[in-house]
């Protein structure tokens, strides 16, 4: 369905989805002239950068060993590399739609490779050990009379989160909007978000886990003999717990990149709070479609995070599998892997493992990989389904055309060549 309309020489796309941060705001009005975006109405500063940033569709469509190449040559080269590998790995996948993820799963299967969505392993491990009590953003928007931001700075990283969903909206349940809500912020430094808090708790760096364990103990009514924990007086923590108790529907939001025991601690705290009131937790994920990648990987293979295909077997888990990154003898990086700088040349160390890079970056470094293939810019030139950080699926619509193929198309081309070579 194409909801756009044309006014004079401009095309106007209402309710467009912005993939710049995990909020996936879907109310952006994008105005386009030709293949140039003129305006992204409603977008925050990050979103504006995303929509209006330099898009340059010029230059070669691919490079092999740093030399310009055409698409077919590059696909052929990628297929040779991947099909010839004994232990290939497909990694990244945060910047494509469901269709790209599906193609990646099928390619990984055909080359007998591993497939990994980096990041968020702590959230998944926590889910697998204690579960998760969560909600869609609309529930926070409508019901949450108490919000705790735990070590995150959404005012900077998710600029419209408070105004659209978390703090300011009025609803039947909270007609007073911001006045009906209490905002607590716990962090280790002065953040922009901390300044907005009704209760701000600055704690010591590196003491998160102690603090969370303390809070859990206080919620459970276990006496703790200490005057201060994590650099904060016990009575201040107790004040926070009183706020927990007074909440009707509380929400704890934390940085989705957190790792270690603190994630399990936050999720356990929320579960324990549900013994006395309603509470939910939500990791604040970054932009792109990592949530979608994890979802697709899970439904296609039954396993989240990382899988591995071996001939004659179904998908095997490699969450608890093998040291994949070091074991690989060929790597396909699908755009959107924060671990890979696609505007820099590969280092000597990395070059030992031949790499193929698919990137929507407008100015990739020709030597970022052995084979670099350019793809349509994710979120602007691509259509399909993307998943918001709360798991809500949204339709992404290309607002301008690209001269480069989508990730999905490239992956399918490579898979096609792999199968041809095998046959």
């Amino acid at each position: 369905m194409d909801p756009s309309r044309t006014v004079d020489d401009r095309r106007i796309w209402p309710d467009s989805v912005c993939t710049a941060c995990g909020c996936l705001c879907d109310d952006i009005v994008v105005k386009v002239k030709g293949d140039r975006i003129l305006e992204a109405q409603g977008a925050c500063s990050i979103g504006e950068g995303h929509f209006l940033g330099n898009r340059r569709g010029d230059g070669p469509e691919a490079w092999i060993h740093g030399e310009p190449a055409n698409f077919d040559e590059a696909v052929e080269r990628a297929a040779i590399l991947l099909a010839g590998a004994s232990c290939p790995l497909v990694i990244g996948l945060q910047e494509c739609t469901t269709e790209g993820h599906r193609a990646a799963v099928e390619l990984a299967e055909s080359i007998g490779g591993g497939l990994e969505v980096p990041g968020v392993s702590a959230t998944i491990l926590s889910l697998q050990s204690v579960g998760e009590v969560t909600c869609t953003l609309g529930e926070i928007q409508n019901r949450a009379d108490f919000v705790l931001i735990w070590r995150a700075d959404p005012v900077r990283t998710h600029p419209r989160l408070f105004s659209r969903h978390v703090l300011e909206p009025r609803s039947d349940f909270l007609p007073g909007g911001r006045n009906d809500r209490f905002l607590a912020v716990v962090d280790i430094r002065e953040t922009t978000t901390l300044k907005e808090a009704d209760l701000a708790i600055p704690m010591d760096e590196g003491a998160e886990v102690e603090a969370l364990w303390l809070l859990r103990a206080l919620v459970k009514g276990i006496a703790i003999e200490a005057e201060q924990i994590a650099g904060v007086a016990l009575k201040d923590w107790q004040a926070l717990v009183e706020r927990f108790r007074a909440a009707r529907y509380g929400a704890i939001l934390y940085d989705g990149r957190s790792n270690g025991l603190s994630v399990r601690g936050i999720h356990s705290l929320v579960r324990e709070l549900n013994e006395r009131t309603r509470f939910v937790v939500m990791p604040l994920h970054s932009g792109g479609n990592g949530v979608g990648a994890r979802n697709v990987l899970t439904w296609r293979t039954g396993l989240p995070g990382a899988v591995r295909f071996v001939e004659g077997q179904g998908p095997l888990s490699s969450d608890a599998g093998l040291p994949s990154a070091t074991a690989a003898d060929a790597v396909l990086v699908v755009s959107g892997n924060p671990m890979v700088m696609d505007n820099e040349p590969t280092t000597e160390v990395r070059r030992k493992i031949p790499r193929v890079l698919l990137t929507g970056n407008q100015e990739p470094h020709p030597q970022a990989a052995e084979v670099v293939i350019r793809t349509a810019a994710f979120g602007i030139e691509t259509s399909g389904t993307v998943y918001r950080m709360d798991g809500v699926p949204l339709p992404l619509r290309a607002v301008v055309a690209s001269r480069f193929p989508t990730v999905e198309a490239v992956l399918r081309s490579i898979e096609h060549r792999v199968r041809e070579r095998r046959a």
Binding site: Q128, G138, G391, L394
Partner: protein
Amino acid sequence: MIPEFLKIAGGTVYDPANGIDGEVRDLWMSGGKIVEAPSDFETRPARTIDAKGLVVMPGGVDMHCHIVGSKVNAARMMCPEHGEIIPSTTSTGLRYAGLGYTTAFDAAIAPLAARHAHEELVDTPCIDRGFFALMGNNHYIMRAIRQNEPDRLKAFVGWLLGASKGFAAKLVNPGGVENWKNRPEGNARDLETRVDHFEVTPGQILASVAWAADELRLPHPVHVHTLNLGLPGNWTTTLQTMKRLEGHRAHMAHIQFHSYDGGDGDESTFGSKVGPLVEYLNDHPNLTVDVGQIVFGPAIGMTADGPVGHFLGRLYGTKWYSNDIEQETGCGVAPIEYRNTTAVHAWQWAIGLEWFLLARDPWRIAMSTDHPNGGSFLAYPRIIKLLMDATFRKDALAALPAEVRERSVLRDLDRQYSLSEIAIITRAGPARMLGLTNKGHLGIGADADVTIYTPDPDPEVMFALPRYVIHRGRIVVEQGEIREATRGRTLHVAPDYDRGVEPDLQKWFESSYSIRWRNYPVEADTIGESEVVP
């Protein structure tokens, strides 16, 4: 172009919808449909399956399972150790086909996440499929009831099914989930409980949505998971629910979980109240049920009934996933281990079988394990054996705790299902309950979904390993081997509704949801091959 024919020759056909009970017949199919035998005797089929001595049935139809969507996927992420019970979409399709099933419906999808469910359905091979859209705690529905605007409600139900490309209206703990989202320990204990903020009752939601589903002439009536699932003494609520639905068609889901005797806190009073409930069902042709049989072993509790998820996680001390979905529903997931040494579990097992054996009309009771809530659908052959072999059943009963062994009426029930009755509860009946005129039978024009079994004295062996499974005229399985992973179709409805409701709806939507009205409906290109069921 001359059509290609596939012929199944000389099989013993069980097609209860067409009154065929074990007759030797030929079946011809072409273009994915069952067709007349060509009048031209010269015509040779492209392939003939010699089915002499084999049993031929329509493909199986699972009308109530949980196989796709956000909560199933959350369960996969949470419980990789239980991958056998909640397999990938690919495995799910292949396993259904491997059991001779060619159609399955996911029973609980939040419309807000319908797009996700559809993406998984597209990736589920070998079966035709669809889902029921959750409505029991929908704010707009409750608002329309409070404002006494049945036409608005009816239009909304029509819009919601169209927008989500769903198949039927599903109610889960109507009103109770909203109360639970709204306050700790909130729930609805009976049909007259007040729903916070909305001033409506579960009874009103039940009756109104049942009415709307009938008015919209949906192929499948309102699909009800009523209040108090799994709680001792819940049978009274179930009976009240059935009574409240008088005058409407309705389907009562996983009735086993709603048929318990007993009182608060005292486990020794737990027991079966199938008797009065099945009597009511027998006398009321407007109602159908599926059983939700449990099987001993690991299972995953998975429900839109948020408070039930919390209850399970607490009861068994397991991990617990919960997801409140704005304006629409809740969701709970927790692993369960059913043990035949645990009295309550043994009761649940017995109660399911009591339902199968006491229900008079097999056309109104469907096979289900409420997969994976009562156990995997892979247990169907075992359950069939329990129904067809009274000795096997009594041996199984003998292994249960004394209080169940001695108090369940199961010990006095000698009924054994016939092959024809099995064909009814596993395909013909569910297809009819769903309103699928092309499924569950082998008459001319039906979808060419056929399962061919090798007869065996042990029904479990017979039903676990079909000789052939044919989906839309393509051979999918041959003696346990996958021949072709066909792409199935998504079955959905597109009811007519009064579009005049949309401006008000949009206004409400934009002020309540976290996404835009325009981004809510699922487009046709998301759902793959599909078919609108009239």
